[in-house]
């Protein structure tokens, strides 16, 4: 049978398929699926996907124009723009899913029309202009733009109040996190240009390592950055003591580091009761408790949490997700906390011997209804 005949045979089979399960029941399908229909459905699905994920579309445009750039350098600007936007905006989307209330905007590279510029109007009404290199030097563009963007936009409010070494270490870690999944040359350029020098500062280097441990436990963004975001919202409208804030942030980082390094089955750590950050972490995980004692043990535990806590972080194995949701549902009317967000994430925690092992965790963030937000936007 020739290839054409085989194709015709398959088409006929698809268009008129019938079979019977029993003698008296016949199922008849009349499938008219043409390549045109398949392509249309696929295109619509792609369109919806890219509409929902514009940063992925930016990455697609970057990929196409990267190849087009080999043919003509007319595509250089388009490639630079979409490659940068795709990378930064993809990171932002991930972070904004993990951290609520984070006040951060997506980036849009806008090429200035140089013909319209002159010294007089630029001095009067001009805006900041950043130079971007040709795409031969795109790694440098990515590193420079990423650091500038993180320094400018990431935790903008909280960074106005925390100590310089805390601010710089957070920027360095966030930028490292943004770039760590890119090709190794980009990360290397970042290390050579920025990190190496900053890591000579012991305070920054030590905090960077601590963030790394906290992030391994899956709580860098959902708890540390989240609490700093809340802190930024709060101190805006209050008389503040800079040293108190520096110390509180130092204690917050140390508290979360203790949590990140705690061994399995070690007792829960105390609530964090600072002037600006007040929260509790509860672990819903001991399997014998979940299986044998059931929901009531945890409901009582959550109801006992001091209501002065503004946030409660409920953490458990992802297998306990429905159990945790059910526990919350049964006590939500009495505790006065609403679910701010929930998420499943990969974490590396310590076993009873202190060795690392991987788990899939589930986190529910509950926010006290009475918390006043002074400055969200």
């Amino acid at each position: 049978m020739t290839a054409q005949k085989q194709l015709n045979y398959l088409q006929n089979m698809l268009m008129n398929t019938s079979f019977s399960l029993f003698d008296d029941i016949n199922f008849n399908f009349n499938l008219h699926i043409s390549m045109w229909t398949v392509s249309t459905v696929a295109l619509i699905a792609l369109f919806i996907y890219y509409l929902k994920n514009p940063e992925k579309f930016e990455k697609l445009v970057a990929l196409i124009t990267r190849f087009a750039n080999y043919v003509s350098n007319k595509f250089d600007k388009t490639y630079i723009k979409y490659d940068l936007q795709g990378k930064v905006n993809d990171y932002l989307k991930t972070v904004s899913k993990k951290v609520k209330h984070i006040d951060i905007n997506k980036i849009n590279i806008f090429w200035v029309d140089v013909e319209k510029q002159n010294a007089e109007t630029y001095i009067k009404n001009g805006e900041l202009i950043v130079r971007l290199h040709k795409s031969d030097n795109q790694n440098k563009n990515i590193v420079n733009a990423s650091l500038a963007f993180i320094s400018y936009a990431f935790l903008r409010k909280a960074k106005s109040y925390i100590a310089k070494y805390q601010r710089e270490s957070l920027d360095l870690y966030a930028c490292y996190d943004l770039l760590k999944h890119e090709k190794s040359e980009i990360l290397d350029q970042f290390v050579q240009d920025f990190m190496k020098e900053k890591m000579d500062n012991n305070k920054i280097a030590s905090l960077f390592e601590t963030y790394h441990d906290i992030d391994k436990a899956g709580i860098f963004y959902p708890i540390l950055v989240q609490e700093l975001t809340f802190l930024g919202e709060k101190v805006f409208a209050q008389k503040r003591d800079a040293n108190k804030i520096y110390n509180e942030v130092k204690q917050l980082i140390s508290y979360l580091n203790n949590y990140a390094n705690r061994k399995l089955r070690e007792d829960s750590i105390n609530d964090f009761n600072g002037q600006y950050c007040k929260f509790a972490i509860r672990i819903i995980g001991k399997q014998y408790k979940v299986n044998n004692l059931g929901e009531q043990t945890y409901i009582k535990n959550i109801e006992k949490i001091n209501h002065g806590n503004e946030t409660i972080y409920l953490i458990g194995n992802a297998a306990n997700k429905s159990f945790m949701k059910s526990v919350y549902q049964k006590c939500k009317d009495r505790i006065g906390y609403n679910v701010l967000t929930d998420d499943t994430y990969d974490a590396i925690i310590k076993n009873a011997e202190g060795e690392d092992y991987k788990v899939k965790n589930y986190l529910m963030i509950l926010r006290n209804n009475k918390v006043t937000v002074y400055h969200r936007k």
Binding site: K106, V112, V114
Partner: protein
């Protein structure tokens, strides 16, 4: 999520921009200095341009300058 514009100039347009802003001669003579590090600005190390107090300020691409510049931009709400 809202978008924030970042004005940019491509390598190919930089020369023209500097000409239009009346900076090209100073650049060629080595008279332009980085606002933050004081380094002499060249075509290779120029990172950013912004107007301030009736003048045009230039920033070089050293890590320290970029860092100081972003903090400065943050404080001054660029």
């Amino acid at each position: 999520m809202n978008k924030r514009n970042l004005n940019a100039v491509h390598d190919e347009d930089l020369n023209q921009l500097l000409k239009n802003l009346g900076l090209i001669e100073k650049l060629n003579e080595g008279k332009l200095k980085c606002k933050f590090t004081g380094k002499v600005i060249t075509f290779e190390n120029l990172y950013s341009i912004f107007p301030e107090s009736g003048d045009i300020k230039i920033v070089c691409d050293s890590p320290e300058a970029i860092k100081l510049f972003t903090e400065y931009a943050n404080e001054h709400k660029f």
